[in-house]
Amino acid sequence: MSSLSYAAPTSVDDAVKLLAGSSGLAKVLSGGTDLLVQLRSGRVKPELIVDTKKIPGIIGIREENGGFVIGAGTPGAVVEAHAGLTAAWPGLVEALDLIGSTQIQGRCSLAGNLCNGSPAADSVPALFAANAIAVVVGSKGRREIPVEQIPTGPGRTSLAKDEFILEFKLPPRPARSSDAYLRFIPRTEMDIAVVGCGVSLTLDAKGVCTAARVALGAVAPTVIMVPAAAAALIGHTLDADTLAKLDAAAQAAAKPISDKRGTIEYRTKIAGVLARRTAAIAFDRAAGIKNGKAH
């Protein structure tokens, strides 16, 4: 009979030691909304589960050097309730808010969503677009890396066996900056993105885009940055020509597969559609025009 150990260390060092010392598969448990489902279905059979939620500071949000720091295990519901974060990063918050149901929101975390390694993860394109930095801890100490460097393929990350994410840092926001996230699903909620798109940008006083980051989900083995899409926005207002270029850049970057959630042809077209729609919301928000929640 196989056995499964569970530990809930109260310090980073203890957690790292446990992970490093495991002879078989060790999994980090944050909210557990993916891990428990995988355990029940038999898809993963870990020897050890290390619950990181008891580590001080891993849950919570603080402002630091003009930006925000979000603890890796902070549940979606806590993030959504944070007024300052919601004002500065509405796209990231709405992306996290799209994960699962109200019950799931009480548990699901940004780190879990990122490290689960799904190309369709909702919060990840928004994290990519936000230029978020992940603070990673492990036996070799602490390192700070852009979130884009974490996922390496479906279900895979660049983290070593004894590493996990402690927190995320979001950069300070210049004036007239905002972000947005949209996903397409066949239903209206409780579904996995067929395509997801995160856009973060800054406008000048005339409404011309001066900085932009565009990320796409579910169109490649990992969430991808689309520099050509960002380039289509920078230096422009959101006119028809810009939208057409943005659409074309997103479609060109999309390299999806056909699976039970969508075909190559459909996903590619939707990548263009979502890039346009997401950018429009981000532009409005950055210009101070209120916009409803994406869905």
Partner: protein, 755 residues
């Protein structure tokens, strides 16, 4: 007695549902909630292959594992001959059922059971399953209905020779039978037509998606007695099927009905119970089995997918003169798709002189289909009602007017034989015409669709008992599992007859040893048939109560009347006595003849068919292909709504399931014939936010064959939605979507093709 024109005090009101508190507080005991001391867990080994010959099954390693108490394969069950089942819903053959529960020589679909283990824990049971060594010879498989009918298709059953064709074929095929219905001269009719429309349509198999997976608890005693706790749409069906598959006497099997978490037709057959009994017999312990959701999708019945061709000819004024249909329904691995009702229901709404319908029942390497709400009717109606919309467009006639012009009325002879009587279709259409939804202009950017539907409804065998307890409260017991509010409606009918409030009557579902035979809860028959038995039992109680009052007063029984829960002298001539109420008579029952109990067993006849018409408004996102249902109104002739809230709930539930069928539900198979979306994440039933408030409009044209005028109401509402939505999409976009589901990729592709 008939109460249709009486003034009613209970029937037609909306008392609080009797099962509600237990369900919302989690106290209700569903099948998976039952356990016993020393209980073992039974688990099924299921085929990973869509089609394979079983070369050998070696269970020795599994049996040797510590904690394993029994392993069974088909060798542990009698190899029973082909025989039509005598209970249940829809066509069922005991041999097929046995082979579906436990494969013998071949596995016919991914998920097909071929061995089972009983172990002390679920983990040990899982480990034991992995130790069973099965050698398969993988065979070519076929999933789609048309591919299965092709001349070179892999054959599932080498003893299947198409029935219904002359001469009888000499070669086996996947076509189990061909059925034909003809009325008039269809070719002459088409010659007479001014306008002819034709279309080809396909639908996908869809699962009933009940929230409760199949589960049971079974105990075999060494003296041969068996106790089963399970959730089903008919515990008498469970008893009969289990007895048949195990070669036992029914009297040795007692089945206790658990609370049921949805059935929709899918729990009218067995999957687990005979296996759990066999494991209990082998292990000497109680065995519990329950399916996972994946098991439910891969191994329990959806309804058929289909390929259909329809042709309709009409005069310029809209009068239909000819209608023709070819239906190919896939049955899953064993014969028995609802092709019969499919052939009957498509045109049943209309008065047509010339009709020709041919249907094929086709097997393929998918799970065996099971009944699903109005089995067969939603499929055929999607095709017919989509084409009716095309006909209306071509003729330049309003969709409602076209239907009014051709609507079936009392006296209309159907193409499948019977003549419609006491039907309310024209009343339904009149209610559509006067409804604010139909009269309101279509909003800019939206489209509106209309479609209608028909279902027979059935009666059948039911038993009901009414017990007046010592304090005058009342227990009503029936053999009908409650899947749609029957405890409420039966209790209300009993209360009405006895003249007491609904809260005085508690209705229970009695087990197979405690009440007379009752056919499954299916065909929308329970409020009609079991309700009729309960009404008659309550009437017997009233007669008994009058007799006892007469005896107390020493006057003739004819001089006693029963009113508002009390016995009164019928007039001044009868004498001046204080009325005797139920509680008083109950208290004195010992002195007036003993317990006040009545039982009635009937085979109810005269179930009134039901008709519905749905109006649907949609918007379509041209870029993503996403369809949003903006407004939905479902009009239906319900005969008499015993408890209107439940009736509205049935109509809303049927429409919601239809919305899922229309927009997103489908089985996705890989090249190996394995299902890729066996879970609620990727098998997309609608979530609450996908469905608008569905307005249910109750039209009450009483069914004179029921004491209160009731008709079955639970099945009609799933018939019209798919075409109503397709017609709304057509109205919004100009696109005709002939293939279900009308999912975003398909709609977007249709837009791209249109451009």
């Amino acid at each position: 007695m008939n109460y249709i024109d009486s003034s009613l005090k209970v029937v037609g009101t909306r008392p609080i549902r009797p099962d509600g508190v237990d369900k919302v507080t989690g106290r209700a005991v569903f099948a998976a909630d039952t356990r016993a001391s020393g209980m073992l867990w039974g688990k099924m080994l299921r085929s990973p292959h869509a089609h394979a010959r079983i070369v050998s099954i070696d269970t020795t390693k599994a049996e040797a594992l510590k904690g394993v108490f029994g392993v069974v394969t088909a060798a542990d069950f009698p190899d029973i001959p082909s025989e039509e089942a005598f209970v249940g819903e829809g066509p069922m053959n005991f041999r097929d059922l046995a082979l579906n529960c436990m494969a013998r020589t071949k596995v016919l679909y991914e998920g097909h059971a071929l061995a089972a283990v009983a172990a002390s824990t679920q983990a040990i049971a899982d480990e034991a399953l992995a130790l069973i060594d099965v050698k398969y010879e993988i065979l070519p498989h076929v999933i789609d209905v048309e591919a299965a009918m092709a001349p070179n298709a892999p054959i599932l059953h080498d003893d299947m020779f198409t029935s219904g064709v002359d001469p009888k074929p000499t070669k086996p095929s996947n076509i189990a039978k061909v059925v034909t219905f003809r009325k008039g001269d269809v070719e002459a009719g088409f010659k007479d037509a001014d306008v002819i429309v034709e279309g080809t349509y396909t639908t996908q198999p869809v699962h009933q998606a009940y929230i409760e997976p199949h589960a049971c608890l079974a105990t075999y005693s060494p003296d041969g007695q068996v106790q089963i706790h399970s959730s089903s749409q008919g515990h008498f069906m469970v008893r009969a099927y289990t007895a048949k598959l195990l070669g036992m006497n029914m009297s040795n099997i007692r089945v206790n009905p658990a609370e049921i978490g949805g059935g929709f037709g899918g729990k009218t057959l067995v999957y687990l119970e005979p296996i759990a009994v066999a494991l209990s017999k082998k292990s000497g312990r109680t065995v519990k089995m329950q399916m996972t959701r994946e098991d439910v999708f891969k191994a329990s019945g959806p309804t058929s997918g289909a390929w259909m061709e329809v042709k309709i000819g009409a005069k310029k004024d809209g009068t239909i003169v000819a209608a023709k249909q070819v239906l190919k329904y896939q049955a899953g691995a064993f014969a028995g798709s609802p092709i019969g009702p499919g052939c009957m229901c498509g045109f049943a709404m209309y008065d047509l002189p010339n009709v020709d319908v041919v249907g094929y029942d086709v097997v393929s390497n998918r799970p065996k289909v099971a009944a699903y709400r109005a089995p067969g009717a939603p499929i055929t109606s999607f095709a017919v009602e989509s084409l009716m919309d095309e006909l209306a467009i071509k003729l330049g006639i309003d969709a409602l007017t076209l239907r009014e012009k051709n609507a079936a009325k009392n006296g209309t002879k159907t193409h499948y034989g019977p003549t419609h009587q006491n039907i309310g279709f024209t009343a339904v259409l009149a209610a559509v015409k006067s409804h604010p939804h139909w009269k309101s202009p279509v909003k800019p950017g939206q489209g509106r669709g209309l479609a209608t539907g028909f279902w027979f409804n059935i009666g059948g065998e039911s038993t009901a008992q009414v017990h007046v307890n010592e304090d005058g409260s009342v227990t009503a017991a029936t053999g009908s599992p409650d899947i749609g509010g029957s405890r409420a409606s039966i209790g209300m009918m009993v209360a009405e007859v006895l003249g007491v409030p609904a809260t005085s009557v508690r209705t229970i579902v009695a087990d197979t040893a405690s009440i007379g035979f009752t056919h499954v809860t299916g065909g929308s028959r329970v409020t009609f048939a079991t309700g009729m038995a309960a009404t008659q039992a309550a009437e017997k109680i009233v007669e008994d109560l009058k007799k006892r009052a007469a005896q107390t007063w020493d006057i003739p029984v004819e001089a006693v009347e029963w009113k508002d829960g009390k016995a009164y002298p019928a007039g001044s001539n009868a004498g001046a006595f204080e009325p005797l109420d139920l509680a008083t008579l109950a208290l004195k029952a010992a002195r007036t003849g003993g317990p006040l109990i009545a039982e009635v067993s009937i085979n109810a006849q005269g179930a009134g068919p039901g008709f519905g018409a749905h109006i649907c408004d949609v918007t379509v996102d041209k870029e993503t292909g996403h369809v949003t249902i903006e407004r939905y109104t479902a009009v239906q002739d319900v005969g008499k709504a015993i408890h209107p809230s439940y009736v509205e709930g049935q109509i809303q539930g049927g429409a919601a399931q239809g919305i899922g069928w229309a927009l997103n539900e489908e089985y996705i198979y890989n090249a190996k014939g394995q299902m890729e979306n066996a879970g609620f994440l990727d098998y997309r039933v609608p979530v609450a936010s996908d469905v608008p408030m569905i307005e249910a409009v109750l039209v009450e044209v009483p069914n004179p064959r029921h004491p209160f005028g009731a008709r079955g109401v639970g099945e009609v509402p799933i018939v019209p939605p798919m075409a109503a939505i397709a017609n709304a999409i057509r109205s919004a976009t100009g696109l005709r979507m002939p293939d279900l589901p009308m999912s975003p990729p398909k709609v977007r592709a249709a837009f791209d093709a249109q451009a």
